[in-house]
């Protein structure tokens, strides 16, 4: 049973598949739609690595320190050390695959991004994710032709196959035919963030439904730090979703203001004089919430001061997008912006080698809880996705060296658990409750009432397996936010507004027999040697 089944063909899944192929190992790449449709193509701003191309003496150690500080010390130090040490090599590898990163005088240009004191973000104008994906897809194609990557590009993950508590494969369904197949093997979940828990309210895609993580959760896989949702400060509402205005807009000089009487009040510059508009995302988002509550009206992002060259060479797609969706030209007038759910720092609990709590199951990319602690820095998500996919693949190669083919894959009529979709009305009801409880500012009273509402909803009727899993995951998210009685990073409790370092602990949720339990676990000690990887 050493076939490898990768669920998700975005940055993480693709990188893992390519890593396996480079080692001569075959893998199956299962995704709802082809890689071109993955959420990774939406990533705009860039990817962090201490390449030190800007003459600022940047080092991986500083990247490590910024990432840990940005995540308010809730990430696994060992994992973050691996990530930041390997970041330069990761970006150089991407560049060698033909990613057209912006360059100047023979080296990659790096720009400022939130929460970091040095220019560390390599980028390809304002479509870095799309550019990286295009080159990775080309690379994967080489191995598809060689038979080392077998794509299942219109196939949905239904649930894990388990055998005595360990993962033995995945049940997938062909969306075109409706037929299902159980595929045995080691499984790597690279299925993205939990956007589908908040339909229409995130910057992500409609394909990241959250069903995969919810199924894994009720099948016994531990999740952690689910309260850590990142609200991106600058998003605009378009029908069906929140649309991101990249942090690069502020990196290049965009300024946030709100009207105070007749005057523009540049509140970030006034209240956070060190990092100003480029403070970490949680700080900016919260400040926007408070300043709006204080003064009324909307917060605006003023990009009219950016010069034409910046629009042309660094942010061309952003301008086109705002004109198309808002009928506003950011070069001419400030854009009204609001916080929007953008990233899930919490998710499937895993260690630095991307092993989950279930033997035979790995996770990488946004579906995991690993690198970003309580708040992710801009430019670290693509890095975490690419490096994470590679790290997971390398560990699987080490621990599951047998490359035997596995059993025959036969698609057939299948009904049963998790095959039925969740009712759309229920999805919206759950989302409504979560939005109330998991806003930018939270408190115990509201969280308790949300948990109560969810309990009532859970008892209202019989639910199918998918609906049950979604209800369980929603409950776990609310309980996680309730139990963390402190404010840290993206999690702000107005009843516990201070950070409490006794709670510098990982909040772990488990589901067993319909019961959800939450516990705090010590974070792994830092600087652990790599010796024992078996």
């Amino acid at each position: 049973m050493s076939r490898v089944v990768i669920i998700g063909a975005g940055l993480s899944g693709l990188t893992a598949a390519v890593t396996f192929a480079q080692a001569g190992r075959a893998s199956l790449l299962v995704s709802m739609q082809p890689s071109e449709r993955a959420q990774s193509v939406l990533a705009e701003g860039g990817i962090n690595a201490a390449l030190d191309t800007m003459g600022e003496n940047d080092t991986p150690a500083e990247h490590f320190a910024d990432t840990m500080r940005g995540g308010v010390y809730l990430a696994d130090e060992n994992a973050v050390e691996d990530l930041t040490e390997n970041a330069p090599e990761t970006v150089r590898w991407l560049s060698s695959l033909g990613v057209p990163f912006n360059m100047q005088a023979g080296h990659l240009i790096q720009r400022n991004f939130g929460g970091q004191k040095k220019k560390r973000t390599a980028f390809a104008k304002s479509s870095t994710g799309k550019m990286i994906m295009t080159s990775l897809i080309d690379e994967a194609r080489k191995y598809e032709a060689a038979g080392l990557i077998k794509r299942y590009p219109h196939h949905e993950f239904i649930r894990l196959l388990t055998d005595g508590g360990r993962c033995s494969g995945a049940l997938v369904r062909d969306r075109y035919t409706g037929l299902c197949a159980g595929i045995d093997g080691v499984v790597l979940l690279a299925c993205g963030g939990l956007n589908g828990m908040f339909p229409g309210m995130t910057t992500g895609t409609t394909q990241n439904t959250g069903d995969a993580a919810a199924a894994a959760f009720v099948q016994g896989v531990e999740l952690s730090n689910l309260e850590m949702l990142q609200y991106h400060p600058t998003t605009v509402g378009i029908p069906g979703k929140r649309c991101l205005v990249t942090e690069a807009a502020r990196g290049e000089g965009g300024r946030l203001f709100i009207m105070r009487g007749e005057d523009r009040y540049y509140f970030m510059e006034d209240r956070h004089p060190e990092l100003k508009n480029l403070s970490p995302r949680d700080v900016v988002a919260r400040e926007m919430f408070f300043v709006r509550r204080e003064l009324g009206g909307e917060v605006y992002l003023d990009m009219t001061g950016l010069d034409s060259e910046v629009w042309k060479t660094k942010l061309p797609d952003l301008r086109e997008e705002l004109i198309s969706f808002l009928a506003l030209d950011p070069k001419e007038s400030p854009i009204p912006v609001r916080e929007g759910i953008h990233y899930f720092m919490g998710g499937i609990r895993c260690d630095r080698y991307h092993r989950t709590s279930m033997s035979g199951l790995y996770a990488a990319g946004e579906c995991t809880s690993l690198y970003h602690g309580a708040n992710r820095l801009g430019g670290n998500s693509m890095l975490g996705a690419v490096y994470g996919g590679k790290a997971a693949a390398l560990d699987i190669l080490r621990r599951f060296p047998d490359s035997s083919e596995g059993g025959e894959i036969r698609f057939e009529e299948a009904a049963g658990e998790f095959c039925e979709p969740a009712d759309e009305g229920l999805i919206m009801q759950i989302s409504g409750i979560l939005l109330k409880g998991l806003g930018i500012v939270r408190n115990e009273q509201v969280l308790d009432s949300c948990i109560g509402e969810l309990d009532v909803l859970s008892r209202a009727r019989q639910y199918n397996a998918r609906e049950g899993a979604r209800l369980s995951l929603a409950r776990a998210m609310l309980i996680s936010a309730k139990e963390r009685r402190e404010s840290r990073g993206a999690h702000y409790r107005e009843d516990f507004p201070e950070r409490n370092d006794k709670l510098r602990l990982e909040g772990v949720v488990t589901s067993s027999g319909g019961q959800i339990t939450h516990r705090f676990e010590e974070l792994p000690e830092g600087k652990e040697e790599n010796a024992d990887q078996a």
């Binding site: 939406l42 033909g98 990163f101 590009p153 075109y176 029908p239 086109e320 759309e424």
Partner: protein, 229 residues
């Protein structure tokens, strides 16, 4: 505001197609055909309409279909554009096999890219000179709209169309002369020889890719062998 969507439906490839007319009320001028399809499916008033969708902001190409007779992305087709007529016809892309309703199987595009072996055999040194071309070409969504309007393309033919031409132009620009010979041959055979230069692809591309400029570069590199050293 009220609009009627005439949707060409079909339960599966072997079932007969039919038009289903659905009245849809909307308030926001930004609402698109994608919004309507999402809301209609959510309402449960008709049997679920099969269609593909992912990013809702013109960046993934999933929701390409024929709207008002024109291939385009459903998320970019605003309902208010059809306000005057009072209705809009929504059909699947016609050059690809239908799976159900508005979902088609676009695997021919991916097969073509594999066929022409569109990949790098070895790592590239970063090259400032090719950045703009590589960037422009990398923006291709693989949505298939260009193939739909192309008078020369059909699935199964030797001409692979602009959906292969654009990705080829990335590597033709990035590879040096010695390394691009094989791809140049593929370009000549599967693109240059079949393209009738109607350039219908240019005005239809939802990403606004400058297909003509890319073609000029690729022709020079692969056919006339005059540019790029």
């Amino acid at each position: 505001m009220q609009i009627r969507l005439d949707i060409l439906r079909r339960k599966s490839a072997i079932d007969s197609p039919y038009i289903q007319s659905i009245d849809f009320a909307y308030e926001d001028k930004g609402e698109s055909v994608a919004t309507a399809l999402t809301k209609i499916n959510r309402s449960g008033t008709v049997s679920p309409i099969s269609w593909e969708c992912s990013c809702l902001q013109k960046k993934c190409g999933a929701c390409a279909m024929v709207i008002g007779g024109v291939p385009r992305l459903a998320c970019d087709a605003k309902l208010c554009e059809f306000e005057k007529a009072g209705f809009v016809r929504v059909e699947p892309l016609k050059k690809f096999p239908v799976i159900a309703d508005l979902t088609v199987d676009r695997s021919a595009m991916y097969d073509a890219l594999r066929e022409i072996r569109l990949w790098l055999e070895k790592g590239l040194a970063p090259n400032e000179g090719s950045l703009d071309t590589a960037y422009e070409a990398s923006r291709c969504l693989q949505c298939g709209c260009c193939l739909e309007v192309c008078p020369n393309f059909y699935v199964g033919g030797r001409f692979y169309g602009m959906a292969a031409g654009v990705p080829m132009s990335k590597l033709l620009a990035q590879l040096d002369k010695a390394d691009r010979q094989r791809l140049a041959k593929e370009y000549s055979r599967h693109f240059y020889a079949g393209c009738g230069k109607s350039l219908a692809c240019k005005s239809i591309c939802p990403a606004g890719i400058e297909t003509d400029a890319l073609m000029v570069n690729s022709n020079a590199a692969a056919v006339f062998k005059r540019l790029f050293g």
